[in-house]
Symmetry: C2
Subunit: 435 residues, 2 copies
């Protein structure tokens, strides 16, 4: 397996060779084997371990095991302990969602803090097969059947071509110890059912199930890329965009025999689900509409016009009072005073509270908006910023803006304004977080 | 269920209303329920039943049951008894392939003979789900996951949106009798495994499995239509065809990041399977090639050139002697003398044996070929015929031609020549069949 793994890295991830790599390690067989493989191939690695404090002594046992495993090999290990239950209750999240959020936020924080390049996780072919079957048993589109991606931004999954069996054989042959899997995944019950009851029967019928699946996923990924091409090509021919709406030319559209497929591709990202209503709208009378949680699709003579609901209620603003420590609508915010600024991500900002005028307002962008991008001295029109950052129409329509006395404080999740930043004169630091 | 079925017919198959419909009936619950539904809705129906003589008394019991079921309702029933084992052994086919061939050939023969319009079969949602899982457990592309088609030429499957459970409930409520399923499908073992061991577990996890699956299939069919669009659009930009080859412009092709996906789409119908070799060929030196059973893909400087192997061995001809009653290479033929011509399909022709000069030859088409299309008086260039019939390149390259003294007798499976037809002066009729 070591050789196959090395070949796989050389052919698919040759760019990792001189990079600094974190490995996300639970202590289970998959992640421990991943560390062992990369260690033997002399990659520059360090280990990240999350202790979610969910199973008391067992969690601490995992932590101790990971530490000692790494110490024997002189691999640096960074451990973070989380009070997951508290966090989940504070933010009204399920334990699983909370753990995932804590884990990935911390991973990205460590990447930045330590100037590492990538985080490697130990997902393998069986995980991908289980994910396929879970998505399949629900209702899904092609994108739900294309497997776990091998790379997702800074997250890389080099074990995806390997089956659980290969990993187990390797661990035994190399006398590697591990901790029994301690996943807290919400779909553990489901995965166990598939793992123990469904997949063995499929394997009985088709002994090459896993390698067949690997091929199938490759073909489906290729098909997905062609779907995206067709969608993009026809979009250019049939759709026009302006600042706040998109216009679908119906007489061009319905020349396509499969125009419903295109409507589905284009509109699904706007949260529509009532597909039959949308298909009926094509031949409905002018003025009829179909709604998604945030958008309106109107039939207007020979066109479909898609606009944001907010845009159509132009004065809709949400006020945030000084006393509010949490806001739930239209986004979930928390506000808390902190003594110092710390490493952050796109979900939070630190501002000088005394520079704010309450109530703050939360709204969508308007023509004429400008702001002072954080870290720059000048001001910039928001329309120019959107263009430079290659915002799509949906990005523009879904982006919220936090304002103080109609000055932009934060283009939420994107960029804060320089005027409100913390400096040496700041006496009260307010941390604003989107949860 | 009757109402839901009626609505389904009205929305998807409204064109069936005034048509003459055969129903393929085994006597099992699915086909019997289909007859009952269509009978109650007053469609103009007749029943086709195949007795494959594979299970002796049981087969005869099925036949008797179907006859009596139809008699009670005054529905015409046409029964055909086959010696399936003999046929399978004669043509060296598996029992299952033989039964399928006998069934569909006979169905189409009856359609023509009786001037009926369509044949309805009773495939339902569970069949489609099982087919999905069978294809999935093997290696498949998107086309293997888009379910059983609702219509395929003259074959229509109006029960596809209905689950086995719905059909069972309907049969019980309406006190309908049926024969236990007598399928001889080669994948019966596999289907039973899925039906009894796999699908119930998936349903336990996801009670809406079947309706989810129905949605999934719709989405995948839509995706497939977009894949076909992209494939066609890019083909026009990158590929040129001439009479006997296609040329893929590699410098245009590799500008696409997903060019492998296009190569897969374009080349799979030519029988290629060594995909990695083909992908490597893109950067290989001029002159290298990859083979499929019938085709050659050559790298020629900045192009891929695809030609038929036969074309590249221009003199390759297969001779058929007068004594040959069977030919196996390159196609499977049988020759037999018959006393009269009967209803036929595209797989066989009747010729005046005395007009033939043996040995006959079997070859691909050549520039300059012409023939006298059956039923017409004049002659026609083959290149013109191909154009009029909208033959694709692959059609032209895969079509075989049977010649007598270099006169075309039959463009196999397409059109016979008028010069060799049976007429009043014919003394010896030869039936030539492709099996």
């Amino acid at each position: 397996m070591l050789t196959k793994f090395q070949n796989h890295l050389n052919s698919q991830f040759s760019f990792l060779k001189d990079k600094k790599l974190f490995i996300a390690v639970s202590g289970g067989i998959d992640s421990i084997v991943l560390v062992d493989l990369l260690y033997k191939l002399n990659y520059e690695i360090a280990v990240l371990h999350c202790n979610f404090s969910l199973r008391d002594a067992e969690s601490d046992g995992d932590e101790a095991f990971v530490k000692s495993f790494c110490k024997e090999r002189n691999i640096e290990v960074i451990v973070q302990k989380f009070d997951t239950k508290q966090f989940a209750s504070d933010y009204k999240l399920s334990i699983q969602v909370a753990a995932r959020k804590l884990r990935y936020d911390w991973f990205y924080e460590q990447l930045e803090k330590r100037s590492f390049d990538f985080i490697l996780t130990a997902h393998h072919l069986n995980d991908s097969l289980e994910t396929f079957l879970i998505n399949f048993s629900r209702s899904t589109g092609l994108d739900g059947l294309t497997g776990i991606p091998a790379q997702n931004d800074k997250i890389i999954r080099p074990l995806l071509p390997f089956s659980r069996e290969e990993i187990e054989v390797y661990a035994k042959e190399n006398e590697i110890q591990w901790r029994e899997d301690s996943s807290n995944s919400s779909d553990k019950y489901l995965r166990n059912k598939l793992r123990h009851d469904v997949i063995p029967i499929l394997k009985e019928v088709q002994p090459n199930l896993l390698s067949s699946f690997e091929n199938t996923v490759k073909h489906l990924q290729q098909a997905q890329s062609l779907v995206n091409d067709a969608s993009r090509i026809i979009y250019k021919e049939v759709v026009t965009e302006d600042d706040n709406s998109i216009k679908i030319n119906l007489s061009k559209l319905i020349q396509l025999t499969n125009y419903q497929a295109y409507l589905f591709q284009w509109l699904k990202e706007f949260g529509f689900v009532a597909w039959d209503d949308i298909y009926d709208l094509v031949s409905a009378q002018s003025g009829k509409k179909v709604l998604s949680p945030e958008f309106i699709l109107v039939k207007d003579r020979d066109f479909f016009i898609l606009t944001s609901k907010i845009d159509s209620q132009i004065n809709q603003k949400f006020l945030i009072e000084k006393e509010d420590s949490k806001v739930n609508i239209p986004l979930k915010f928390t506000f808390c005073n902190v003594s110092d600024i710390s490493i952050t991500d796109s979900n939070s900002i630190f501002v000088d509270e005394n520079k704010l005028q309450f109530p703050l307002t939360l709204r969508k962008w308007q023509e004429g908006d400008y702001f002072y991008p954080f870290g720059m001295t000048g001001k910039k029109k928001l329309s120019k910023y959107f263009k430079d950052e290659k915002f799509s129409l949906i990005d523009k329509l879904t982006t919220w803006i936090l304002c103080s006395d109609n000055q932009i404080v934060w283009i939420i999740n994107k960029r804060m304004d320089d005027r409100f930043k913390v400096n040496n004169n700041t006496t009260t630091i307010l941390k604003i977080t989107i949860t």
